[in-house]
Point group: C2
Chain length 185, copies 2
């Protein structure tokens, strides 16, 4: 689990903003509440660790300043370049509607989800990403509004139960490369 | 490159929809045109392979039917369950505004981007994901509108040039785990 969380933490994000927060949930009572808000999907409570990715509800000056401050500490001598870059970013992001900024943050979250899924597969941890939950209820249960966050996607992790997994013997189905990819040489 | 593209193709997506198309661009003239629409960023033309991820502009009955048909072929005996599942999905997705569906498709694209970046890192291929381009111009150059696609994110891939990479010696900077992750045990 520590390695999967670290893959999420180290995933690159646009301008290094890392505009999300990760909740790693093992508490049984909390999982039961979230299950009720997730169409009663058993895998919420069957998982050993239930992860909820919550994105920034918008970008703020304070949130961007925190990124600049961290870079200034870790990369001494780059302060001037950092200020130029992030001042431009602020001028672009801060006037945008919240939903545009949230959408941008949500996309970064899905990139980190990709790293989590790849890490889980390598570590042979079973994973099921989950959309289609009642996000408003998730946000309420986790108290996200006060934190300036909105739930985006969840990820159930655990040990494979091969004998009861009806999907396991089925062939993996993907779009063929000739339909999905165009080479322009 | 084949392995990176395969990582993208095999990335999981919501309900298996794989709602994007990948353009793998080596053509120098095309890269020059895209560079002009990407704030003249040198890495468009410096890359050996410039990838553009384009998401479905919306979900349609035909697009969902193509997924069902592929699953029916590869997973014989599941036709009835497939119809039930994807009929429900159609009832939910098809009446939604195009921008809601595009946003959903774009998120799946970023998940696949995560797989591409993890694969590139493992293969020691240098990678730079790229936002902030003129997406309307990208769409025009690649003729995406007629294909029902919209550009979402790009990825420059190539051989590391360590001697001219000013970022390479700098420390990687990330949000500390105590700020990014909350354990709820």
């Amino acid at each position: 689990m520590a390695r999967i969380v670290e893959a999420i933490r180290m995933a690159p994000t646009s301008s290094g903003l890392q505009p999300f927060h990760l909740f790693v949930i093992r508490n049984a009572e909390l999982k039961s509440k979230l299950k009720a808000a997730a169409n009663a999907k058993d895998l919420v409570t069957d998982s050993s660790h239930f992860l909820v990715f919550a994105a920034f509800d918008t970008y703020t000056e304070a949130r961007i300043d925190a990124v600049v401050a961290r870079h200034a500490v870790e990369r001494p001598g780059t302060e001037a370049a950092l200020d130029t870059y992030y001042d431009t970013l602020k001028a672009s992001y801060l006037p945008r509607p919240d939903d545009v900024n949230f959408d941008h943050a949500a996309r970064q979250t899905y990139n980190a989800l990709g790293f989590a899924l790849a890490a889980a597969a390598e570590l042979e941890v079973d994973s099921t990403p989950m959309e289609g939950v009642d996000n408003a209820k998730f946000d309420e249960i986790l108290g996200l509004k006060d934190k300036g966050l909105k739930s985006v996607v969840a990820l159930a992790l655990g040990t494979r139960q091969a004998e009861s997994d009806w999907l396991l013997p089925l062939k993996k189905v993907r779009t063929p490369a000739y339909d999905l990819v165009t080479d322009l040489n």
